[in-house]
């Protein structure tokens, strides 16, 4: 087996997946949930009569109400509503038989600003801490590799996973109204953790093999390390993946997209660790040698 030899094909496959998502990201952006934008979300079960509900929201003076049909009923999204709006809405709603409000969430502007700020901070903090951790962890790497190439290629792997997820959710958001909420950020950070985890397992082995010292070239050492760790990476990722996937298939509806993020992300993370990060290290090395 010689996966590193085909590295250009792996890069190509990654690009094929990333490019459409990135285009969508640039054109349509992401659909943010009320947590980030502020607003009201009401979930109703027992009716799919969109027109009737729209009428009720209009009478209750909802601002910018948008009604979408779901599996079990309807979801209303609007600008933040007041208690009076909601009271009027509920009185009218209760006149329809067997209809009930199962969930209402209102997020005011000051709260949504804070949630957005915290999301940004946690993403940045997580990235910085991971890089620092990797730099410390791999500070002693024998020649010809250097600790920079370990850190940077690991981060490129993370970037790959983040782009895959953001791109897919941008497409899902544009065509299926799937929203990006704090749980998405959580899932993304968890996925990044997984991805780094897989990368670290491979890099540990590369380091170990480099320290042992053989007559092999750098590419051969990396290749051997990847092959040696293949079982392990696939096993560990598969165990986490299968459990998230089953939860996605059979679990409750409230965290469906949270789980979907992980289902996609774990695959991307494993792929990027095995086929991208280690390959990039070899590419880095050969570029450096060409320069000389």
């Amino acid at each position: 087996m010689n996966p590193i030899n085909y590295r250009k094909w792996w890069y190509l496959l990654s690009l094929i997946i990333i490019i459409p998502g990135t285009i969508s990201l640039v054109l349509f952006g992401l659909k943010s949930s009320i947590d980030f934008t502020g607003g009201t979300l009401i979930e109703i079960e027992g009716t799919k009569d969109k027109g009737k509900i729209e009428e009720i929201t209009k009478e209750a003076k909802f601002n910018n109400a948008n009604v979408t049909i779901t599996n079990k009923g309807l979801i209303i999204r609007s600008k933040p509503i007041t208690e009076e709006n909601h009271k009027k809405f509920k009185t009218d709603l209760n006149k329809i038989k067997n209809v009930k409000e199962v969930r209402i969430e209102t997020v005011g502007p000051s709260i949504s600003k804070e949630i957005t700020r915290r999301a940004f901070i946690s993403v940045i903090l997580a990235s910085v801490l991971i890089v620092i951790y990797l730099a410390i962890s791999f500070r002693r790497v024998p020649k010809p590799a250097n600790s920079w190439s370990f850190g940077v290629t690991a981060v490129l792997g993370i970037l790959h996973d983040a782009l895959v997820l953001l791109g897919i959710f941008s497409i899902l958001g544009h065509f299926f109204n799937v929203e990006v909420d704090p749980l998405f950020i959580t899932a993304m950070l968890t996925v990044i953790g997984f991805s780094v985890h897989d990368t670290v397992v491979i890099y540990d082995r590369i380091r170990e093999n480099l320290i042992k010292g053989t007559s092999e070239t750098f590419e051969e050492v990396v290749n051997r390390s990847v092959v040696e760790m293949l079982d392990r990476d696939i096993s560990t990722s598969f165990l986490a993946w299968i459990i998230v996937f089953i939860l996605y298939l059979f679990g409750g509806s409230t965290i469906k997209y949270f789980l979907l993020t992980m289902v996609i992300g774990i695959i991307s993370g494993t792929y990027s660790s095995i086929f991208n990060s280690a390959s990039l290290m070899v590419t880095w090395q050969s570029l450096k040698e060409k320069k000389r």
């Binding site: 909601h86 005011g108 000051s110 670290v200 079982d231 459990i243 089953i246 059979f250």
Partner: protein, 449 residues
């Protein structure tokens, strides 16, 4: 000889740990008495009582795992206090008394375990109210949000003027029914100062109306027929019973020292939560079975140990949940199930290493030893990264915090079960003859390939 002893000691320690965890997990009361040394162990909600030679030690534990609002249904409300009319030095006092008044109001509503706390973000003072299991959120919102400033005003020169008699002079308010119309009304009883003021006001206004204002709005304008001594009055408005009850609670708890505005509201129905729990438990069980099958097929003999390890892991996790009073949310369930996958990863890293050492020709006993030692750096690095991320997520709060706590606990417990549990059990059988059979470990020696 010495080494063998160490394995047995570890086994005893492990068994003690399991016994303790099981005692905490067990959903019923337990009483254990040992005659020598004299130890009494009693588990009775909410404490574990541990008596040794007469010294009593109490551990508080949660009998049941607490369910978060998203699982049992309930409301999460964030209010922002409008302190613009309060001077800077009184602000923190005002927030404290806001909290106190809201607590009193909520408690009077008779909910189980409501939570009221304050937080400050920038210059904004917030009051966070969690109402588990409430069905009538709208009533709760009514109850909490109204300022409830009661004021009696008298009629002078074709307008109403303050009398100085306010809600502060109240002793008690309650719901009664009008004897004639049978409509609900709020009866109030003034304290001695209030009764005196009330007698004076009614005395000088015989034949005139008195207006009762609530939050600067007229509720009723009764005409005074004679001076009222004794300090009792009724507020009659067009109340229904619920409104009268809410008003009585608000008056008893006192007026809010500053107005509050709702900034965030999340209410989830109990059915949605219950449905999620049931489905996730089923999914979790299927997931666990799938993981066990994978481990058994892929690692054969070693897989048995990780299956046992998984059982230990769950026993420990539930015990910790109860011990620390972790509130289980939907995010927590996801974290728990995910952490099962992650704890298996530690096993995989160790088992793969053991197989590698077996393939390199080591005997089982030394392969196990090397496997655990050499797998450690990568296990440490990967789990450290996950713990860093958990720490960051913990600061985010809400459902995410539940996820982070459970995942972090899971990572630590996963390491303990592998390095204490699985390791001890493997060490126990390491010297048996049958471990020489390489098929058991799916290992082909290099020469045989």
């Amino acid at each position: 000889m010495k080494k063998k002893n160490r394995v047995w000691w570890r086994l005893i320690f492990l068994l003690l740990l399991i016994a303790t965890a099981l005692a905490i997990d067990w959903p019923k009361e337990i009483k254990i008495q040992m005659p020598k040394p004299k130890v009494n162990l009693e588990k009775k909600s909410p404490f574990i009582k541990f008596k040794k030679n007469g010294d009593l030690v109490n551990f508080k534990i949660n009998y049941k795992i607490k369910e978060g609002l998203d699982l049992q249904g309930g409301s999460y409300l964030v209010y922002v206090a409008d302190l613009s009319k309060i001077s800077d030095k009184d602000k923190s006092n005002a927030v404290d008394s806001l909290k106190k008044v809201i607590e009193d109001r909520v408690n009077a509503f008779g909910l189980t375990e409501p939570v009221v706390r304050t937080s400050k973000s920038g210059s904004e003072h917030r009051i966070i109210v969690e109402l588990p299991g409430i069905k009538k959120t709208d009533e709760a919102l009514d109850l909490i949000g109204k300022t409830a400033q009661l004021e009696f005003k008298e009629f002078k020169n074709s307008d109403f003027y303050s009398t100085g008699l306010t809600g502060k002079d109240l002793k008690h308010a309650g719901v009664t029914f009008d004897q004639n119309t049978n409509e609900p009304q709020v009866s109030i009883q003034f304290n001695s100062g209030g009764a005196k003021k009330f007698a004076e006001i009614t005395g000088r206004n015989v034949g005139q109306p008195i207006a009762i204002y609530l939050d600067n709005k007229v509720v009723s304008k009764p005409r005074v027929n004679e001076q009222i001594n004794g300090g009792n009055a009724q507020i009659t408005g067009k109340f229904d019973f619920q409104e009268a009850k809410t008003l009585a609670i608000q008056l008893n708890a006192g007026a809010l020292p500053a107005p509050i505005n709702i900034a965030e509201q999340r209410t989830i129905g109990a059915t949605l939560g219950q449905e999620s729990i049931n489905k996730s438990i089923v999914a979790g069980i299927i997931g666990i079975i799938a993981v066990c099958i994978y481990m058994l097929v892929y690692y054969r003999f070693l897989g048995i140990f990780s299956t046992v390890g998984l059982g230990l892991y769950l026993v420990f996790m539930i015990a910790l949940f109860k011990l620390f009073g972790v509130t289980l949310t939907m995010g927590g369930i996801a974290g728990l199930i995910l952490s099962i996958g992650m704890s298996m990863e530690t096993d995989v890293l160790v088992f793969e290493r053991i197989r590698e050492e077996l393939r390199n020709g080591h005997a089982f006993i030394s392969a196990v030893k090397l496997g655990f030692i050499r797998a450690w750096p990568s296990i440490r690095d990967s789990n450290a990264v996950s713990l860093i991320i958990c720490a960051i997520l913990y600061t985010a709060g809400g459902m995410i915090r539940g996820f982070a706590i459970v995942l972090a606990l899971g990572i630590v417990i996963g390491l303990v079960t592998t390095f204490l549990g699985t390791r001890t059990l493997i060490d126990l059988i390491a010297k048996r003859k049958f471990v020489k059979n390489n098929w058991l470990f799916r290992v082909e020696k290099k020469g045989e390939e």
